[in-house]
């Protein structure tokens, strides 16, 4: 699955660091307005990253009359789980890619951050990223397109809607990283 263009991701993702350099006000603006919904917990990402991931999932896997939406299935939380289990360098790249998506809309003709746009506008942003002549934009969009779709279509609640009869092994046996993540998630939820 094609993921991050390392140096470029980190360079653009470092917009956060730039904001840090601009001082407290800019930093507050840059990181404000990212409230998690009930039950959401950010372990692999920070709160902002998880909010952007939620908007990305809602854009790429919106669902329809038959298919559940990706957010409803918690695909954004599963993205957080994947990042939680990755090495630090790859996690930083993927987090930086979300920063790019969040702050790229003004370059594509939209006023506002990705998370503030209506779904149609977000979809247009993703289409423009995928069709861009800039490698970085395509890489960022393609990375999350693939990550969202593998997590979405691997969800058992989708199987019957697409004509897939599912695994023959009936009992799910999660990997150690998923068990640890679930435990930490539960602890954080209990603590509120």
């Amino acid at each position: 699955m094609a993921l991050a263009s390392r140096r470029q991701f980190l360079a653009l993702g470092a917009l956060s660091s730039l904001a840090l350099g601009l001082g407290g006000a800019a930093l507050r603006w840059f990181r404000s307005g990212y409230a998690l919904s009930a039950g959401e917990v950010a372990l692999g990402l920070d709160a902002k990253g998880l909010c952007v991931a939620r908007a990305v999932v809602d854009t790429l896997a919106p669902g329809d009359a038959e298919l559940p939406g990706g957010v409803e299935l918690g695909v954004h939380q599963r993205i957080d789980e994947q990042l939680f289990a990755l090495d630090e360098a790859t996690r930083r790249e993927l987090a930086a890619a979300l920063e790019v998506i969040e702050h790229v809309p003004p370059l594509l003709g939209y006023a506002g951050r990705f998370t503030r746009l209506p779904r149609d506008a977000r979809a247009d942003v993703m289409r423009k990223l995928l069709a861009s002549r800039r490698d970085l934009f395509v890489q960022v969009a393609a990375a999350y397109k693939q990550l969202v779709q593998i997590l979405y279509y691997s969800d058992a609640r989708v199987y019957s809607k697409i004509g897939y009869d599912g695994p023959w092994v009936k009992e799910e046996k999660p990997p150690e990283s998923a068990i640890l993540y679930a435990r930490l998630l539960e602890e954080r939820r209990r603590r509120g």
């Binding site: 699955m1 094609a2 993921l3 991050a4 263009s5 390392r6 854009t59 790429l60 896997a61 919106p62 669902g63 329809d64 038959e66 298919l67 599963r78 994947q82 289990a85 990755l86 090495d87 360098a89 790859t90 979809a123 993703m126 995928l130 069709a131 490698d135 395509v138 890489q139 969009a141 393609a142 990375a143 397109k145 693939q146 990550l147 969202v148 779709q149 593998i150 997590l151 979405y152 279509y153 691997s154 989708v158 199987y159 809607k161 697409i162 004509g163 897939y164 695994p167 023959w168 092994v169 009992e171 799910e172 046996k173 999660p174 990997p175 150690e176 990283s177 998923a178 068990i179 640890l180």
Partner: protein, 524 residues
Amino acid sequence: MITQGASLLSTGRDVSVESDVCVIGSGCGGAALAARVAEAGHRVVILEQGGYYTKDDFDQREVDMLAKIDGGRGLEASDDLSVSLTYGHNVGGASVHYWADSYRTPGDRLAEWRDEFGIVGHGEVVLAPLFAELERDLSVEPARDEYANRMNQLVRDAAGALGWHVARVPQARKACRASGHCMQGCAYDAKQSQLVTYLPRAFRAGADLYSDARAESFEWDGRRVRAVVASVIDRATGQPSARRVRVEARAVVVAAGGYGTPELLLRQGLKDRLPAVGENFFCNPCPMTHAVFDEDIVMWRNIPAAFGVEEFRLARYAGPRRVFGRGGAGRYLEGGYLLMPNQLHPGMLGAVLPGFGVEHARLMKKLPKLGGTIAWIDDVEPGRVRLDAGRRRIEVPVHGGNAERLRDAWRKQAELLFRAGARQVIFGDAADTRIERPGDVQRAVASLSLRPGRNVLAAPHPGGGARMGADPKTSVVDIEHRVHGTDNLFVADPSVFPSPPSVDPSLTIMAFSFLAADAVRAAL
């Protein structure tokens, strides 16, 4: 005996052991060699950085299994993100997720290795009895008719109609249940991976294996490696712990795979005196092509590839044929790949199909009628494995001769799929190129961009980064698989191949490992 990381972590103590041979890696290369050496009466310790999972752990869920047995959870890519890196990260290595395709190395490729790269002692005559032994041990036989799903049948019939040479793919299977979950690890122990073949033999002969133990450094004594030190990995976090396993050995064999072996050698500083470490890398980049049919295909059941198109295994040129890493060839005409039916379950298929949202969902709702093909490109442009601030980087060239072969593979796949009855052919690129008429194939393929991120290419067969040869300036190991300038350090995996073997490499890796085992035993 197998000692897993969790038990090492629970003791809170470091481990120090002695053996005759320390083998780093437990895939096709390491396991075959370990069995051979252990059965000859030598003490063997295997270090494997991945976890130990068996059929009871293989739940056939795509994401669960990516986390258990795939390096980087299937999320790693080449340096410019053009190619996804596919490799095993578990006891048994990539043999646990491979398709069980088991080809002998073609004689023409062995002759090329001898004539172009000076690889002697590894020719057809030497290897033939080893292949025969491997085929017995792994129950290799041509794919049976009952293994062929509809996509396989269509590929066989369409290739035949086009006049292309198509053949049954030799398979390492026993009592296959045809679940179609080969890539998630066989839950029935039918696929003859290292988990059920050479590793048990090695254990029966007394070999020990430490899982979750990542080899980090060598202790040197002049030209000899005295010991290997490994970090114990916490499987839940994927992070190395403070616990160490130290293996003192009379010989050390690196069999960490096409990505891992050059990385480990680079980390030991060997590049300074062996400039070929990490160079001449190849990986069989794989372009996929998808199709919508009117009939049910159900591509996810039965085995991935019962029939393969061998017509284009060797590239055709007007003039001299191109050799890996060499220029000056004639004009490229076509070929340089094997062409296979594809098998994907919905998670991976969803990821590689183009687009998103409602349009993408509409396509996925046709899942039973979706099929496709994949091509293993026989690379000719060398890539590289390098370290950048301590991090492994993989460079895969998607230009020059590799690009010519990629485009021709897309063309041939589209022609084949239309002949097989496809109503629509989908290239899966970021621009979502789809065609519905065979007459549009040339134009469509010419329009495909090869810039990073535009296509989904997998890289399942890495090798070459520790090439075999006589000259320490251009190779890493000699013809006895020993690292130049050392007395007891060997490599036994596809890193030693001078170029791609032009077929699935598993049998070639194991046959070479048998030869490496002989050299290791002689050095003890």
